[in-house]
């Protein structure tokens, strides 16, 4: 096997155009397997562990730590130890020369979110992997989030499935009219969106409030749901850090928002300037605060208002899995205890309330495997 394989700067989410290696996790000369963490990659939004897409020997760190590189640029070379250094040098040179000429095309092809009218209100969604025949996966973000929360998960899942990430009413690019703002209203909006974009049956993946919405959607129209993955879900117990949702609504400056967002992660360093700036810009929009307040009051005032734990049995043979960050400070992972025997529970160490950002590779793998079994 004298093949030389290029490892390139990955694209995390829609807006990423460049990134840098924060630090290499494996030195040159290490034998690596598919899925081994080889580097921490930093974007203006977030830092994420990058896992090797290939197996072999990590022969060369082409990117220097802290060097800004465009998406698709060569960052490392994997090859058999038998391949001479000179051949690797030549490969690097050739790759760089070709990359310099083709870089602009890659940018033009980036998929854009779309907006459809659902019950007279705009709902925004981003579809990837539309070419796949398999039943689609639908990703539903949590309170205060948007479809970009899935940036580390959606592209990977889209290699095998059609994957639709949506903005709940009151969030992201969807309309900021939320009606009652309770689970019934939100899940009706999700159902309306799926009907209008021709998704008769889907694997639902929800995070936090979005997980409760997914669960409620499955209970309300089980014939349309193939499986349910609940990530740090609301809806399984009454306890929630209500100070978080309230402080999230009132924080109007980065300084106020930073400690609030830090609660979401084990590693507070993941809260970046851009993440805060994006959220502040959303919160400044007319109607955003009112929408968030209505949703907070309908779902979390005085603790979680609608607990669906006792209704899991009604789902019949729709498979359910639960993924929780072991150090979740917003909704305690103890709520994953005592669920019906059929519910698979995965508690991920080193993750807080955002495991799909903090442990994105683990979450992707769990969703991928679960969905494949439930096909």
């Amino acid at each position: 096997m004298n093949q030389i394989v290029a490892i390139t700067m990955p694209k995390f989410g829609l807006s990423m155009t460049e990134g840098k290696i924060a630090s290499w996790a494996r030195p040159e000369g290490t034998k690596i397997a598919v899925g081994d963490e080889i580097a921490d990659i930093e974007t203006t939004k977030i830092t994420n562990a990058y896992e090797s897409p290939v197996a072999g020997v990590l022969r060369r760190h082409v990117a220097h730590e802290q060097e800004d590189l465009p998406v698709g640029a060569l960052i490392a070379v994997v090859a058999d130890p038998a391949v001479p250094d000179a051949e690797i040098d030549a490969f690097v040179e050739r790759f760089r020369a070709e990359f310099a000429t083709r870089a602009p095309e890659a940018e033009a092809a980036a998929p854009e979110p779309r907006t459809v009218e659902v019950h007279g209100r705009p709902m925004r969604y981003l579809e990837l992997g539309a070419e796949h025949e398999e039943r689609p996966i639908v990703l539903i973000h949590g309170f205060g989030g948007d479809l970009n929360n899935w940036l580390f998960v959606q592209p990977g899942l889209a290699e095998r499935n059609r994957v639709i990430a949506l903005d709940l009413p009151g969030h992201g690019g969807s309309g900021r009219q939320v009606g009652a703002g309770d689970l019934g209203t939100l899940s009706a909006a999700v159902a309306g969106l799926l009907d209008s974009i021709d998704v008769p049956k889907a694997h639902l993946v929800g995070h936090s409030l979005g997980a409760a919405v997914a669960l409620r959607t499955a209970l309300d129209r089980p014939a349309h749901v193939a499986s349910v993955t609940l990530v740090c879900p609301a809806g399984l117990g009454t306890e929630i850090d209500e100070a978080f949702t309230q402080d999230f609504i009132t924080a109007s400056r980065r300084k106020q928002l930073e400690p609030v967002l830090a609660k979401l992660f084990v590693d507070a360093g993941l809260v970046s300037r851009d993440m805060m700036e994006d959220l502040l810009r959303f919160k400044r929009l007319d109607g955003a605060r009112e929408a968030l307040t209505a949703i907070q009051n309908a779902n979390f005032a005085g603790g979680q208002r609608e607990v669906l734990r006792g209704r899991l049995g009604e789902l019949g043979d729709i498979p359910v899995q639960v993924i929780w960050g072991a150090e979740d400070r917003i909704i305690p992972p103890q709520q994953a205890e005592g669920l019906p025997a059929g519910v698979a529970v995965h508690v991920l160490p080193g993750a807080g309330h955002m495991p799909h950002m903090e442990k994105a590779a683990d979450v992707s793998r769990l969703i991928q495997a679960f969905v494949a079994r439930a096909m």
Binding site: G173, S252, R253, R254, R273, R281, R284, L285, D286
Partner: protein, 338 residues
Amino acid sequence: MSRKSFRQAINEALRQEMRRDPRVVIMGEDVAGGAGSPGEDDAWGGVLGVTKGLVGEFGRQRVLDTPLSESAYVGAAAGAAATGLRPVAELMFVDFIGVCFDQIFNQAAKFRYMFGGHAVTPMVVRTMYGAGFRAASQHSQCLYPIVTHIPGLKVVIPSSAYEAKGLLIQAIRDDDPVIFFENKVQYDQEEEVPDDPYTIPFGEANLTREGDDLTIVAFGRMVQVANEAADRLARDGISCNVVDPRTTSPLDTGTILDCVADTGRLVIVDEASPRCNMATDVSALVAQEAFDALKAPIRMVCPPHVPVPFAPNLEDLYVPNADRVEAAVRAVMRHQGR
């Protein structure tokens, strides 16, 4: 969301507020153009086309071409505001403000006080400022320090298209008279601006860069100049905060003082003439409130105390640029303490 110019951002803010609230009217010299003449309707849309297209949607009852008399229409705006409308008057160049000092300083700014808190004056005066437009000394001044000096006025100096839209909507919804400064050199600058209406609160500074070594406070267009300097300096390992106060009245003194406490060094970039400008004001604030935090003397980067030159080469020398900011930062960093 799409890229919009500073000009489009202002136009969109006006349009959305006029749709939302029928009390919002705009008035000024040729804000549409062609009123009362056989000439082309909406020929101008303001001298640089910022209000173009509004008369088509809202009509002549709400988009008022006025006589060439700032005294008259700024006074009319103050009266209209006190009696129930929410006028946005366009004072073409801020250099012309002298003839309506009384209307702004003695009337609009004072109504709330003189009427014992029973009157509000929700008036916005949009006006162009700044050099670099080859428009000579009577069309290039900054003059925001003069209005900042007057209690009862709010003073806004947006630094970019995103900032301009959110701050203008906030200004229109505010119940006090607001003087809103637009740098004419920035009208064609583009960035991402949300399609939906949004507001940016007054008195909340924005940190456009974050660093540990030195704080740069800059106003309006000078924020970009400061950012450019900060980015260059960062490559040499000097990391700067850049503070964009957004509004000079109210002024977010808390953020400025916090940043100085963190960095111990301060450079202020102000395109206004150097005597009694925002740079001297912020210097005085920091000297009085944060003297013990300072590791080096404060430096001000301002133009010289001369009228804005008409000769292009001299005008280019006049306006503070990133080179001058960078040099000032390096000088402060070199300072040896006692």
